[in-house]
């Protein structure tokens, strides 16, 4: 039984952060209120401030934390929990009567401080974290205060000797994320399932900003690579691995693996976790605010200016055909009427067909590209070509109309 407890503990240790016996704040055996603390320090911050600079401390100072350090709302005890806990640190459990392996004194009632900083002590056994602490981006808790911010160095009710289970432990400091995850209209299952925050973030360090385990796309595709995933409304979510396998022309953020340029992973008030507004429908009256998402990277002039020779090559001479299609007071076509959002087979991520109406009929665009323009035909209008090298645009509305040239859908 004891052996299985040790094994469980070690299973926790192997994957968890470097932790070890913290500064001699409390007794090893007795609860805090019963301790005879000769050198009390109220929290790990105090401890750190009194600790000498070490080699690791210097390493950490070289790299800046991701952003301003968030303040923890509650402070966790580093003392041993008096209740029976399923997870016990092997270094603590090995000899409950002698704390000197990590502390300056052997006496459990007066263990004293730890020498140097806790992270140095942790690394004496957890050498496997040497590589991690040398990564570019470090968690503030590792960078500034060390392991015991998140781990109890003695024992815990939680795996990896965490003070609390996830996501509560993370949200104790990251109040902004808590607000988003709780209040957002559109939620992301990644936050509440399996490993929760650690599904996407490395709690210690990473070579990717925001302590992401991988670049955003690589992370997202880890889950969005299967059929049958559904959103909160029960609508099936695209299998992106399959989509990208079949569609080599990719939207720039996809090509550079940055899903977060358009989607916010913690939650959003916008459809499909979009970072800002974008019309969800086929038709929309033109309002720049509706296209805020696109205009984060694309120039508004693409749609705002009726004539241009600079902002787009989807023009007939200087007649801007983006303007013509989108910039209408009521039934303007939204970007997705012609473009795939993520990837397509054709250049400029132009769709082959567009789902239309409640029955989502797939209407073919029949787009053909040429060296100096292109053409579309049949579905929305009869064949109309454009050529950006023309000196004068063809004004189709002035040409004789036939039944097939009627506008639609």
């Amino acid at each position: 039984m004891k052996e299985s407890k040790i094994n469980a503990n070690f299973h926790g240790i192997i994957l968890s952060i470097v932790f070890l016996l913290a500064g001699g704040l409390y007794s090893c055996a007795a609860p805090p209120e019963e301790n005879d603390r000769t050198k009390p320090a109220s929290n790990p911050v105090d401890m750190q401030s009194k600790a000498p600079n070490t080699e690791h401390g210097t390493i950490f100072e070289k790299s800046k934390p991701e952003k301003t350090e968030p303040e923890p709302r509650k402070k966790y005890t580093q003392a041993p929990l008096t209740m029976a806990t399923p997870f016990i640190h092997a270094a603590y459990e090995a000899d409950l009567e002698d704390c000197s392996l990590c502390h300056e004194n052997a006496d459990p009632r007066n263990p004293g401080r730890i020498p140097g900083t806790s992270i140095d002590l942790c690394l004496e056994c957890h050498e496997e974290f040497e590589e991690e602490i040398n990564r570019k981006f470090k968690h503030v808790s590792v960078d500034k205060v060390t392991c015991i911010n998140c781990h109890n160095p003695h024992n815990s009710e939680n795996p990896y000797l965490l003070h609390e289970s996830l996501p509560d432990l993370c949200l104790n400091c990251h109040a902004d994320i808590e607000k988003v995850t709780k209040q957002a209209k559109v939620k992301h299952d990644a936050i509440t399932t399996e490993k929760k925050c650690v599904n996407c973030h490395n709690p210690h360090s990473s070579n990717v900003e925001h302590l992401l385990n991988q670049l955003p796309f690589d992370l997202c595709i880890g889950c969005h690579n299967k059929d049958g995933l559904k959103d909160q409304q029960g609508i099936e979510i695209t299998n992106f691995e399959a989509l990208l396998d079949e569609n080599p022309e990719q939207h720039a953020p996809v090509a550079v693996k940055d899903c977060s340029a358009c989607h916010t992973p913690h939650g959003s008030d916008n459809f499909r976790l979009l970072v800002t507004e974008y019309p969800a429908k086929f038709y929309s009256g033109y309002d720049p605010k509706n296209y805020a998402l696109c205009f984060e990277c694309h120039d508004e002039e693409i749609i705002a200016e009726p004539r241009t020779t600079i902002h787009t090559q989807f023009r007939d001479a200087d007649r801007n055909l983006h303007y013509l299609h989108v910039n209408k007071p009521t039934r303007g076509r939204t970007c997705r009427a012609c473009h795939e959002v993520h990837a397509a087979k054709q250049a400029h991520i132009i769709r082959e067909a567009v789902p239309y109406g409640k029955r989502r009929w797939m209407l073919k665009l029949n787009y053909t590209r040429t060296e100096t323009g292109g053409s579309c035909e049949k579905t929305c209008h009869s064949k109309r070509d454009y050529d950006f090298t023309r000196s004068e645009p063809i004004i189709w509305n002035k040409l004789p109309t036939s039944k097939s040239t009627k506008e639609g859908p």
């Binding site: 040790i6 070690f10 240790i13 192997i14 994957l15 968890s16 952060i17 092997a90 270094a91 090995a94 000899d95 392996l101 004496e124 056994c125 957890h126 050498e127 496997e128 974290f129 040497e130 590589e131 991690e132 570019k136 650690v198 490395n202 709690p203 210690h204 360090s205 990473s206 070579n207 990717v208 900003e209 925001h210 302590l211 992401l212 385990n213 991988q214 670049l215 955003p216 690589d218 990208l244 396998d245 080599p248 990719q250 720039a252 953020p253 090509a255 550079v256 693996k257 940055d258 977060s260 205009f295 984060e296 990277c297 694309h298 120039d299 020779t309 600079i310 902002h311 787009t312 090559q313």
Partner: protein, 282 residues
Amino acid sequence: MTCKVQLTVTRCGVFFFAVAVLWPTTLWTFSRAAIGTKIENVEMPTLDGGRHHLLGNAMANVFVFFKPGQEYSDITMKKMALCEKETADKSVHWVGIVSNRIPPAEVESAVKEAGITMPVLIDVDDALYGSLGVKLHPVVGITDQEHNLVNYQHFTKVNFSEVLLARIRHLLKEIDDQKLDKVLHPVVATTGGNGTKARIRLMLAKKFYKTGKYEIALTHLTTCLDDDPKLVAAHTLRGQILAAQGNYSEALEAFQIALELDPDNASAKEEIKACQERIPER
């Protein structure tokens, strides 16, 4: 067997296809200036009323098109300011480019907010935008000393500065292809590194050995060797502890196992010799 080979070949195919497809960096470039194009070193008016060339004689010439007020441009320019500082003592020529459609006061405010010190060139009537085919904001172009376009980078929320600096350093020959590749394709940030339970137990046992707690150390070594029976350092430590306890014959066995696992282990050879000298002849 055939099936397995086919599966492996298919997986390799999928992998290489994915790499080829997912990183078409050369495809994403200025629409009228592909990688390798020689960029014309035009002289342009600057925000402060002077004139400045788009490119310099530096080993790396970096030019960024940005649009004040556009969130991603503003974010990027702050990052550019940091990149600029990091390369302050290097042969890098930086310029920012804005359209003359943007009111100067707005540009000045954005420049101040971002903290960039690079000259800001004013693109009159979007002439440079048009000649390069700039469609997005923000985008960065990098040329070599001969003004050939070697890289194009548009906005990413994640690792923008990392990638940009790595590309500059690569151009400055400070990092090689392999190091650049590590930045472009960072490996998964695993937790716990490559450590093993056995290694942790070994380190713990070492600590107990150093404090003279031999029995506890041996307990941890037993667990350690159960997990990894071929861990030479654990056998060596076990031998040292047993020898310290005066149990030379068992220590000898431990050292001999260490030597079998690592025939070049000089320390084990010495320890064996020392043990043999201490074991009384039967």
